[in-house]
Every structure is written in structure tokens, then in C-alpha cells.
């Protein structure tokens, strides 16, 4: 391919088969090597008549190849060669699916509204800092199929599995603390994720559970739910987030995550949470830009149309058998 990047003459035009341009001189070879046409199409009069016609001021018959006829043939040939070379422009890049389901579960219990964090130099709630870090993280997961779960006493699906990562990230803006209850039930959120994914296509399944770790309620025990998650290949990454996380809570979350083959991460401030997000991003890489294909817009039609017009003109000129 030639003409990559800015393309030919900076017009963004590329040639898919540039070698075809090497065919441009082929007509010279055809004229030189191919057997000559029989002269029947250019009748010449008998010698005596030709002399008589000459006396009338006409050599008789048409010239074998009028310049305009040659111009049409050259025009058609050039147009066909360019069409064969495959001129194209490239459109926007298409998303390459990672094959991963990424579920973000956000703790919306009352403890997330504690103002023990700092954001841009000011006191902020845990949830505000969480949103500040997680929203761009989620929006950058192009290729993943992402879903967002909000949980507290209950768990509910905020954003269903979608490849529109921008839309999923935007749903974080609409979450509010305490909406699904005031207390924390980790098992509910894990159970909802399991229910959502059990009929989904096979693939890598990763659940990020952001909580301050103060699990204080649960009909479905988090360990039991984690066992169900492990059964469908859902890896659980528990992220403990708060200025102070009790060691027993951290140990509990690590144990739950370990059931699924996942792990526990801890962040005490915004920087810590950003570091955790970075680490998880590295653990769950996305398809690189080099894997992204671009739409192709074929530009050969105008050249083919020009060749067709040239052919029609030649046929018109040849309608009487002349050349």
C-alpha cells in the first residue's frame, strides 16, 4: 500500500494495489508484440480507383487511427489502471472487542458519603473521589463490554452490559448515595453480576467491586456468591476504599476475592485509587490501536465510469467500422 498517513498529495488517498500502476506502459507492448489487425476494417480502393479518388482530393478510406481515437483509448486505459490500483480513503477506526465483560460494582451505602477524602485540595466524600477516578477509567475501556451495578442494602443494574463505555461511565453521575438502602450487602451485588452473566457469551469476566468494606448485611453471604461467581469464571477484584479500612474488613474482602481467583486492593486516597485503577488496567489490557481496523471507502468508481464512457465513445466512433 502506498499513500499511508496523509495519503497521496495529502488527500488521504491510498492505493491498495500500487503495483497495478506498473501496467501503465502495457499498451506499448500490446502494439508492439500483439499480431496486427487485418486491414479489412480500413478498406482501401484498388490502385486505379485510388488514383482517381486522389485526383478528387481524397486518398480513400479513413485513416487507420485518428488521434482522437488514440486519445480515447489512452484515457480509458489510464482510468482502468488507476481503478485497478485500488484508490481508497480510510474512515474512522472501528472498535476491536476485547472479549471481556467488565462489571463495576459501586458501593452506595451511607458510609460512602463520609467526607474523609480530599479532591482538588478540598474535603470530599469517598463517593465523589471514587467517581472522579473511576469515570475516566471506565470511559477508557473501549473494547470491553461494561456494566455498572449500584449496591447497598439492595443491588441494582445501573448500566446493562454495553460497549458504549462513555454511556456506562456517564451513569456514575446519576448515582446517589443511599438510593438502594443505607447498609452494605456485598453478596447481593456479586449475585446480580452472576445472574447477568450466566447466559452471556463465554469470555473473560472481571468484576471490580468498590467498597469501603463495611459489609454489615447479607442474605446471600459474600462467600457463597463468590463461589457462584467462580463457577461462571467471574474474577472478583475487591477494592477497599477509605481513609481507614479495618484490618478485619480488608481480610474479609481478600478472602472473598480469593474464592474467585481474584485479589484485594486497597486505596486510602485519590492517588491510591488512581494507582489501583492503573494496576487493574495493566492486568486487563485492551486491544492496542494497531489492532483497530478502519473503514475503507473505494474511490475506483469514477475511474471505472470514465473507462466506460471511453469505451462507449470508441464504440460510437467504430459504429461504421472505421478506426
Amino acid at each position: 500500500m502506498i499513500g499511508g498517513g496523509e495519503g497521496i498529495l495529502g488527500l488521504g488517498v491510498e492505493l491498495l494495489r500500487p503495483w497495478a500502476l506498473g501496467l501503465a506502459p502495457a499498451p506499448l507492448l500490446a502494439a508492439w508484440l500483439a499480431p496486427a489487425l487485418a486491414p479489412a476494417a480500413a478498406p482501401r480502393p484498388p490502385a486505379g480507383v485510388a488514383r482517381w479518388l486522389g485526383a478528387l482530393g481524397e486518398a480513400g478510406g479513413r485513416k487507420p487511427a485518428a488521434p482522437s481515437g488514440l486519445a480515447l483509448r489512452v484515457l480509458g486505459w489510464v482510468a482502468l489502471v488507476i481503478a485497478l490500483a485500488g484508490p481508497v480513503t480510510r474512515g474512522e477506526a472501528l472498535t476491536t472487542p476485547s472479549g471481556r465483560d467488565l462489571i463495576l460494582a459501586v458501593d452506595l451505602s451511607a458510609s460512602m458519603s463520609e467526607e474523609d477524602m480530599r479532591l482538588a485540595g478540598r474535603r470530599a466524600t469517598r463517593f465523589a473521589v471514587l467517581r472522579d477516578v473511576v469515570e475516566p477509567f471506565l470511559a477508557g475501556r473501549t473494547g470491553d463490554r461494561v456494566a455498572v451495578i449500584g449496591f447497598a442494602t439492595e443491588a441494582y443494574l445501573v448500566a446493562p452490559p454495553t460497549h458504549d463505555v462513555g454511556a456506562a461511565a456517564a451513569t456514575l453521575e446519576e448515582l446517589s448515595i443511599g438510593l438502594p438502602g443505607r447498609r452494605t450487602d456485598l453478596g447481593q451485588a456479586i449475585g446480580l453480576a452472576v445472574r447477568m452473566l450466566e447466559d452471556a457469551p463465554e469470555g473473560e469476566r472481571l468484576m471490580l467491586m468498590l467498597t469501603d468494606g463495611e459489609a454489615n448485611l447479607g442474605e446471600l453471604g459474600a462467600e457463597d456468591a463468590a463461589a457462584l461467581a467462580a463457577g461462571i469464571g467471574l474474577e472478583l477484584r475487591m477494592i477497599g476504599f477509605g481513609a481507614e479500612i479495618a484490618p478485619e474488613n480488608a481480610a474479609y474482602m481478600a478472602a472473598v476475592a480469593a474464592i474467585t481467583g481474584g485479589g484485594y486492593h486497597e486505596a486510602r486516597d485519590r492517588e491510591g485509587l488512581a494507582a489501583v485503577a492503573g494496576a487493574i488496567g495493566a492486568m486487563a489490557p485492551l486491544p492496542g490501536p494497531e489492532t483497530r481496523e478502519r473503514r475503507v471507502f473505494d474511490l475506483s468508481a469514477p475511474f471505472l465510469a470514465a473507462a466506460l464512457c471511453a469505451a462507449a465513445a470508441i464504440l460510437w466512433r467504430e459504429r461504421g467500422g472505421g478506426a
Binding site: L37, L80, L84, L157, T162, D164, V296, I314
Partner: protein, 285 residues
């Protein structure tokens, strides 16, 4: 195999007719070359001219063949166009449910549910009231879509009123944000268009105004035309689905790498081979 630009095939009968005329009549000539007319009896000129023309097919045949192959190349035949590559942002449909005070959204819901059946593309839900609102992003989770569809009504809208064009614009923005390449917006009106509903809304999706009864359909004719939308009713759902499928097939056939095998280069090469015959020299008599 499909033809991505089938209208070019209309040129083939014309070419076939020209070939038949040239073959049958020895050309379309009725006059003799040069000043032979001054020498030949007028009654003989036509037949003689056609006979001379018949002998002159050495360049017409390759020109005709090249023209036919070029026409086929323009029609853009592709094989395997049904194999759409897996790109998650390739296709999307947004259902825009309009709500209006005092109007039961039940008929709209039922119509929308029929578009959520098996095989539906990733679908988003937008509500149109005084503004356009995201309800569900593009997803294949039909259960989730169904749950939200079931509770959509004017009562839950943050801003009441009727601004259909705002709903349409919101749908277009949803599709643009998701990067959907082949996109369809299906607007399900609640009632006859309010004043000002005809406001144009830029966008690149295929648009449909899907009315649940004939009276509504008639009422929306002018607005649908202004929006560049197909005006459809419950009996047209297959056509609505077909619009998106056809656009997806064309996209896969012509613009997606690996989407199909393009026969155009092969036909162009064959046309070029025929064209070379036009450069053969004439032998001296």
C-alpha cells in the same frame, strides 16, 4: 453474491442491444468513409457501408467486452457479504419513546417490544418529553430494556412537555457517542405532532417514525418527510428491520476490511485485458 451498486446493471441491456445492432447490421453506419459516396450509387451506399462495418469488428469486440466488464465492476459484486465482522460499534438502534401528558404509552411500548425480539441489534432507549433523556445505553440485554420500557411514562419525566425533535437529536447524539457506524433511530410518537415538531435535526442514522395507528401515521406524514424518515406502522416492522439489515450488509460488503470478497478488482483486471486489444496495430493493406 450481492451487487453493492446494482443500478449500474441497467447499462448491460443497452450494451447488449448495441452489440446486437453492431453484429446484425455490421455497424450502425449508413454512410461510406471518405468520399466513396461520390463514387457509389446511392442505392448501394447503405448496404455497402454496413458490410464494410461488419468487417470492422476487430476493435468493437474488445471495446464491447471491456464496457460490459467495466459495467459489472461498477455494479460492485461481492461474495460473502453476509459475514459481518465483529465490531461492537458497528450497528445500533435507538428507540425514542415519546411521552405526553395524559397519554397511555402502552401502544408504543408494545410496538417497541416487537423490535426487541431475538436477533435485534444493540438497542438503546431514549425518552422524549420536554427534552431528550438517556434511559438505557446501547445493549443487547433485552430484559433490561424491557424493564425500563415498562416503566416509561410522562409521570417519570424530569421535564414535561413535547419536543420530539429534541428526542430525535438526543438519539442521534447517543449513536454518535457510541460510534455506531450503521445506525437507526426509531421514533414512536405519543400523539399528533405538536407545533414546531418539524424542526430539522442533523444526524446520519436511518430514521423511522413508527406510529401505532393509522390516524397517527397520517398526522406524522409531513414531519417524517421533513426528518427524512420512513413513516411506518405496526405492519411495517419487517421493513424497518430490513432497512438496517440492508445498510449493514452494504457496509460489510463495501467498507469493512474482511467483510467480503470484492470482485471489482478482478473485473477491472479483465476489462483492462480486453482494453489492451484496442492498442493492436493495423496491418498495412
Amino acid at each position: 453474491m450481492i451487487f453493492a451498486s446494482p443500478f449500474w446493471l441497467l447499462a448491460l441491456p443497452a450494451l447488449a442491444g448495441a452489440a446486437w445492432l453492431l453484429r446484425r447490421g455490421g455497424g450502425l453506419a449508413t454512410t461510406l468513409p471518405g468520399q466513396w459516396d461520390r463514387l457509389i450509387d446511392p442505392a448501394l451506399r447503405g448496404p455497402l457501408a454496413r458490410r464494410l462495418g461488419a468487417a470492422g469488428g476487430a476493435r468493437r469486440r474488445p471495446a464491447l467486452a471491456a464496457a460490459a466488464l467495466t459495467t459489472l465492476a461498477l455494479a460492485h459484486p461481492v461474495i460473502g457479504a453476509g459475514d459481518v465482522p465483529a465490531h461492537p460499534d458497528l450497528v445500533g438502534r435507538v428507540l425514542v419513546i415519546e411521552t405526553a401528558p395524559g397519554i397511555d404509552p402502552g401502544p408504543q411500548r408494545r410496538l417497541a417490544e416487537r423490535l426487541l425480539g431475538p436477533g435485534a441489534p444493540p438497542t438503546a432507549l431514549v425518552a422524549a418529553a420536554g427534552e431528550g433523556y438517556d434511559v438505557v445505553p446501547l445493549t443487547e440485554d433485552r430484559a433490561h430494556l424491557g424493564r425500563y420500557l415498562a416503566v416509561l411514562s410522562d409521570a417519570v419525566m424530569p421535564e414535561h412537555g413535547r419536543r420530539p425533535a429534541a428526542g430525535l437529536a438526543h438519539a442521534e447524539a447517543t449513536l454518535a457517542r457510541a460510534g455506531a457506524v450503521v445506525a437507526q433511530t426509531v421514533f414512536l410518537p405519543a400523539a399528533a405532532p405538536p407545533g414546531g415538531a418539524v424542526a430539522e435535526s442533523a444526524g446520519r442514522s436511518l430514521r423511522v417514525v413508527l406510529a401505532h395507528d393509522d390516524a397517527l401515521r397520517r398526522a406524522w406524514r409531513e414531519t417524517a418527510a421533513a426528518w427524512g424518515a420512513r413513516l411506518a406502522g405496526p405492519e411495517d416492522l419487517d421493513a424497518v428491520r430490513g432497512d438496517l439489515e440492508a445498510a449493514l450488509t452494504e457496509e460489510a460488503a463495501t467498507r469493512l476490511p474482511g467483510g467480503a470478497t470484492d470482485l471489482r478488482p478482478w473485473l477491472a483486471a479483465a476489462a483492462a485485458a480486453c482494453w489492451l486489444a484496442l492498442f493492436r496495430r493495423r496491418a498495412e493493406a
